[in-house]
C-alpha cells in the first residue's frame, strides 16, 4: 500500500517529520518498508497485514495516524469521502440490475454520467497517482483510481454506448464457452467458476478483478456507467488464483471492502467525474442490500490488564477505541463497544485487546517472566548422542533436501515407491526422497569437484515411502558416505589411509558398541559384494552400498569409490541399551601369546578366530593384532598376527598352564587352515 505525506494531510494534521511518522506507523503495526522524498511529497510504502483491509486506503491510514498522534480526523474539503455534498437523483424504481446469486454479489450499483468530455486529470491528481505507481489515463479512469486509493473502494467505469442494456446489467457466472479480452489486452477463457458483469449480449468485466477492453473508457467516450459493488471475497480470491490475474480491485475485494461506505464513495466519485468532465449525473440504480447489522463486543478492562500485564484504566481503553472509530459506552470497567462497518476483522474481545495494546504501545509493556511448571523430562536424546559419536569418528554433518527428482532414483537403480508432490515448482521437487543416499552422493560429487579428497559425511533425517497406500511413512535414518582418503602426518611420516569397507565397518561397529547394541554383523547380500546387510543378531538395521562406476558416473563421480550406508534409526534406537553396569577389573594377571603366520588370502579370518576361541578355558580372548599383504609375502597370501590372551579367575596362570593350549592352537592353525608359521 502506498500513501503520501501530503495526501494523509488532507485528513489529519501531522506534526511529525515523515521519518518520525514512519516509525510511529511501524510500531503500530503498519510496517513502513520505505519512505522516499519525491518532489515536495514523501511516499510511504506500507506493508498491510491481511486482516486490515481498512488500511488499504489513505483515509484508513489517516484514521490510524490520528489515533496514534492524538489528532482529530478531519473531513477533506476536496476529495474526501465524507466531504462530499453532491446530490444524485434517487434510485429509479425500475430495477435494471439482475444479480444471479446474492452470495456472489451482495450489492451492486451504478450511476450514469452523460454528455461528458474526456479530459486529462488535474495536475495534482495525476501527480499523486504517479506517486502511487499508477499511470494517469484520463480524468474518468484517474478518479476511479484516485478514490480507490483514498477510500479503498474499487470502482469501474464502462463506456455506456458500448453496452447493450436492453435487459440491464446482469451479474452472473460465465459459461464454459465465453471469452473476454481484459483491459490488459489478454484474452481470458471463462468458465462457470468466474463471475462476470454482463449485458444481454456478452460479458463486460470479470467481477471485482478487471474490466473488459471493448467497453473501457477512451478519449471518444461520451457517456459512462460507473459501477460500485461488493463481491464475495472467497469468490474473488478463487478467480484471481484461477486466472493468475492480480489487480488493485481484486486485492481489496479479497480482503473485504466496507459495504456501508460504498454509496457515499460512489456518489463522490460520480460527482467528481461530472465536475471535471462537464458531464451530468443521470440515473442511479442499485440492487442488493447495503445494510449491515450492528455488532457489539464487550471488553472488560480487567481482562486487558491480565492479558497484557499492564495497568490501564477503562477511560484510557475507551479513548483509544474511540480514536480508532469504535463507539464505546461504559459502565465502570466493562466497555460496550460498537464495531464500525469497516472493522469486519473485530469479532472477539481479544481483537479489542489487541487494538488497545497497539495504541497503548508494545514498548510500554514491561517484561516479566512466567512461572514455568516443570515439564515431563524427555528421555535421553539418542539422536544428539549418536551425532556426538559420529563427530568423534571424524564424520561431518550434512543437511540435504528431502525433496528430490525422480530421475535420481533411477540413477541409483533404486526401486522404491516414493511419495509424490502434487504441486512441485520444478522437477527437483517431484518426490519426497525414499532414500538418503542420493543427497549424500550429491554432496560427495560437489566436494570432489571442489578438490576435497577426504570426504566423510553423515546426515540424520527422515526418508519417506508410499508402501502404505493409506498413510505415507516417515522414517528417520542415518546416512553415511565415505570417499577418498585421510592423510595422517605421524611422527614416523605420512600415512595415507584410503577409505574402504573396513572404515565403514569401524564406524558402524563403534556406533553399535556405544549404543550398547550386541550382535553387530555385516554380511554381503549379493555375490558381487556391492551391497551388505547390517545386522544386530538376526534383525536387519540397514545396508551398506558400494555403487557401481556407472551409477557413480550418473552423479558426476568419476574414478572414485564411494561407500554408503543407511541405517533405520527407529530400529537402532529401539535396541539401544544405555544402562551401564560396572564390572570389576580381573583379579589375576593375563598372559599374552602372539602367533604370526602366513595364510591364504581367501580364508576368512573370522573362521580362524572362531576355531581358536573354541579351545576355551583358560583362553579369554583372541584378536588380530597385525596384518600384512605385499612385499615378502607370496601372492595370494597374507601375513597375520593373532594375540591369545589367557587368564584364570581362580589363580595366577603359569607358563606351563599356557604352553600346552598354545601348542594346540598352533597345531590347529597348521592342520586345519594350512597356515605357515613365521
Amino acid at each position: 500500500m502506498i500513501v503520501t505525506y501530503n495526501w494523509l494531510q488532507d485528513f489529519v494534521d501531522i506534526r511529525l517529520s515523515p521519518e518520525q511518522l514512519a516509525d510511529k506507523l511501524t510500531l503500530a503495526g503498519l510496517e513502513v518498508v520505505s519512505c522516499k522524498h519525491i518532489g515536495g511529497d514523501v511516499v510511504f510504502e506500507i506493508e498491510i497485514t491481511s486482516n486490515r483491509p481498512d488500511w488499504l486506503s489513505v483515509y484508513g491510514v489517516a484514521r490510524e495516524v490520528a489515533a496514534i498522534t492524538g489528532e482529530k480526523l478531519k473531513l477533506g474539503d476536496r476529495c474526501s469521502v465524507l466531504g462530499t455534498r453532491a446530490k444524485h437523483p434517487a434510485p429509479s424504481t425500475k430495477n435494471l440490475i439482475t444479480i444471479q446469486d446474492k452470495k456472489d454479489c451482495p450489492y451492486y450499483s451504478y450511476r450514469i454520467i452523460r454528455n461528458l468530455q474526456i479530459k486529462p486529470s488535474a495536475a495534482d491528481i495525476a501527480r499523486r497517482l504517479e506517486l502511487a505507481n499508477l499511470r494517469s489515463v484520463n480524468c474518468v479512469v484517474d478518479l476511479t483510481n484516485y478514490l480507490l486509493f483514498e477510500t479503498g473502494q474499487p470502482m469501474h467505469a464502462f463506456d455506456l454506448d458500448k453496452l447493450s442494456l436492453e435487459q440491464g446489467i446482469i451479474v452472473r457466472r460465465a459459461t464454459q464457452k465465453e471469452k473476454l479480452v481484459t483491459i490488459d489486452g489478454i484474452e481470458r477463457q471463462l468458465n462457470p467458476d468466474i463471475l462476470v458483469i454482463a449485458d444481454n449480449l456478452k460479458p463486460l468485466a470479470i467481477a471485482g478483478v478487471m474490466g473488459g477492453k471493448d467497453t473501457e473508457v477512451t478519449s471518444a467516450t461520451k457517456n459512462i456507467l460507473l459501477e460500485t459493488a461488493v463481491f464475495d471475497s472467497i469468490l474473488v480470491r478463487r478467480m484471481r488464483q484461477k486466472l493468475a490475474l492480480q489487480s488493485e480491485a481484486a486485492y481489496r475485494f479479497e480482503r473485504g471492502v466496507d459495504l456501508a461506505a460504498t454509496p457515499r464513495v460512489s456518489l463522490e466519485c460520480a460527482s467528481l467525474i461530472a465536475k471535471c468532465s462537464n458531464g451530468k449525473l443521470a440515473e442511479f440504480k442499485e440492487s442488493g442490500s447495503k445494510k449491515i447489522a450492528d455488532r457489539y463486543v464487550t471488553l472488560e478492562t480487567d481482562l486487558v490488564n491480565r492479558a497484557l500485564g499492564i495497568q490501564i484504566t477503562a477511560k484510557e481503553c475507551k479513548s483509544i477505541l474511540t480514536a480508532l472509530g469504535f463507539t464505546v459506552k461504559n459502565k465502570s470497567a466493562s466497555l460496550q463497544v460498537k464495531i464500525p462497518s469497516f472493522r469486519q476483522d473485530v469479532k472477539k474481545e481479544v481483537d479489542l485487546i489487541e487494538e488497545v495494546a497497539r495504541i497503548y504501545g508494545f514498548d510500554r509493556i514491561l517484561s516479566s517472566l512466567p512461572k514455568i511448571s516443570p515439564q515431563q523430562a524427555s528421555v535421553l536424546d539418542l539422536t544428539a548422542y549418536l551425532k556426538e559419536i559420529l563427530f568423534a569418528l571424524g564424520l561431518n554433518e550434512t543437511i540435504t533436501y528431502s525433496l528430490i527428482d525422480k530421475a535420481s532414483l533411477t540413477k541409483l537403480k533404486i526401486n522404491l515407491t516414493p511419495v509424490e508432490i502434487r504441486n512441485p515448482l520444478s522437477k527437483e521437487q517431484e518426490i519426497l526422497r525414499p532414500t538418503i543416499l542420493t543427497g549424500l552422493l550429491n554432496c560427495v560429487a560437489h566436494n570432489l569437484n571442489q578438490k576435497q579428497n577426504q570426504i566423510s559425511l553423515f546426515e540424520i533425517a527422515k526418508i519417506f515411502h508410499a508402501d502404505d497406500r493409506a498413510n505415507p511413512v516417515e522414517q528417520p535414518v542415518l546416512g553415511i558416505a565415505l570417499c577418498g582418503e585421510r592423510t595422517l602426518l605421524l611422527d614416523q611420516g605420512v600415512v595415507k589411509d584410503v577409505f574402504g569397507l573396513l572404515h565403514m565397518k569401524g564406524i558402524l561397529e563403534t556406533v553399535f558398541s556405544r549404543l550398547g547394541i550386541k550382535g553387530f554383523a555385516i554380511t554381503p547380500l549379493t555375490v558381487s559384494k556391492d551391497e551388505f546387510i547390517i545386522q544386530a543378531g538376526a534383525q536387519e538395521l540397514g545396508r551398506v552400498f558400494l555403487p557401481a562406476d556407472a551409477q557413480l558416473d550418473a552423479f558426476e563421480i568419476k574414478n572414485k569409490k564411494v561407500f554408503l550406508a543407511q541405517l533405520d534409526l527407529t530400529k537402532l534406537f529401539s535396541l539401544a541399551q544405555m544402562e551401564k553396569k560396572f564390572l570389576p577389573a580381573a583379579k589375576y594377571p593375563q598372559i599374552t601369546r602372539d602367533m604370526s603366520f602366513i595364510v591364504k588370502d581367501d580364508l576368512a579370518v573370522s573362521r580362524i578366530l572362531e576355531a581358536i576361541s573354541a579351545l576355551g578355558q583358560p583362553l579369554e580372548n583372541v584378536k588380530i593384532v597385525d596384518y600384512y599383504r605385499g612385499k615378502q609375502i607370496p601372492k595370494g597370501f597374507r601375513a597375520l598376527t593373532i594375540s591369545c590372551i589367557y587368564r584364570s579367575n581362580q589363580r595366577t596362570l603359569t607358563e606351563e598352564d599356557v604352553s600346552s593350549i598354545q601348542e594346540k592352537a598352533v597345531r590347529l592353525l597348521v592342520d586345519s587352515f594350512g597356515v605357515k608359521m613365521r
Binding site: E31, G309, V350, S373, D491
Partner: protein
Amino acid sequence: MDINLISAQIKEELDKIVSCDQLEALRLKYLGRKGVIAELTGSIPAVNPQERGAFGKAVNALKQQLFVSLEEKQRSLGVSKAPAPESAETDLGMPGIAQELGHKHPITGIIDQVCGIFSQMGFKVLEGPEIETEHNNFTGLNIPLEHPSRDAFDTFYLKDYEKLLLRSHTSPMQVRAMAKSKPPLAIVVPGRVYRPDAVDASHLFMFHQIEGLMVDQGVKFSDLKGVLEVFVKAVFGKDVAMRFRPHFFPFTEPSVEVDISCIICKGKGCSVCGRKGWLEILGAGLVHPNVFQQAGYDAKKFSGFAFGMGVERIAMLKYGINDIRLFFENDLRFLKQF
C-alpha cells in the same frame, strides 16, 4: 668419569627426593645446560677413538634412563604437570597429531543452542512429523483454507493422499501438543518446513523453524516479552536491544514481529538491515482463543503464548552468511567452519 658411578649416584639422589622443587633441582643438575650430562657429552671428543663410540652410547643411554626415571619420580610425586624435558627430537613447529573431529552443521548448531536456552527455562523439546494434515497445518490454527491470510503459507500437497501436505511451518505441533496433553505446557519444536518458493539467495523450498508454545493459567503478554528477551540476549549478546511490532498471525492475538537492533551496524543503519537499524528475527503472540477452542482447552481459564523463528535466518545473521543455499550445498570448506 665413570658412568656407572654417576648412574648409581642419580639413583641414590632420586630416592631421597620428596618434593617437586627437589626434583627440578636434580633435573637441572644433570640435564641443565651446564649439567652433568652436558659435561659428559662435551667430553666425548676427548675420549680415545677406540672407546669413543661405546662411551657415546653409554652417555646417551644414561640420558634416556634419566628421562624415564625423572618421569617416574614425577608421577610418584603425584604431579602430572611434568616440567617437559626439552627433547631435542620434537620440533613443535610440526603439526600436532590428533584425531580429526567431524563438524556439526551450523543449522544443527543453532537449533541446539536455541533449544538449549529454552530447555534451561523449563521448556521441553519435541519433534513432529513433516507430513501433516490440512487441519493441523491450517484450520486447527485458525487459518481458513480460503483466505488471504493463507497466502503466507504456500504449501506443497501430496499427490496420492487426500488432504495431506508438507507442513509449511512448525506450528502444527501446537495443535498436536495440545491434543496430546493438558496444560501446563511449555514446549519448543525444531524441524524442517516446506514452501513452494522460488529459489534465490534468501528463499528456498525447504528450511528450518523452531516453534515455541507455553500454556498455563495467567500467562500474559509481558511474559512473552520476558522469555524472548532472555532468548535474544543469550543468542545475540547482552547489548542487543529488542522491540515488539504489532503484526498479524491467524493463530495468535495480539500478534507481534520481534526485531533486534542490527548486530552489524549496532542500529545505525546498514545494507543488512535495510538502513532501518533493526532486524526482524521472529513472530510471536498470545495464543488465539479460537486455537484453544479447537484444541478443547478452556480459553477462559488458560492463556498462553507461541512463537516461531526461522533457523536459517538466525544462522545467517549470526555468522554473516549471505546466501541461504550455502546451508544445503554441504561444501566441506563451509561445514568445517562451524
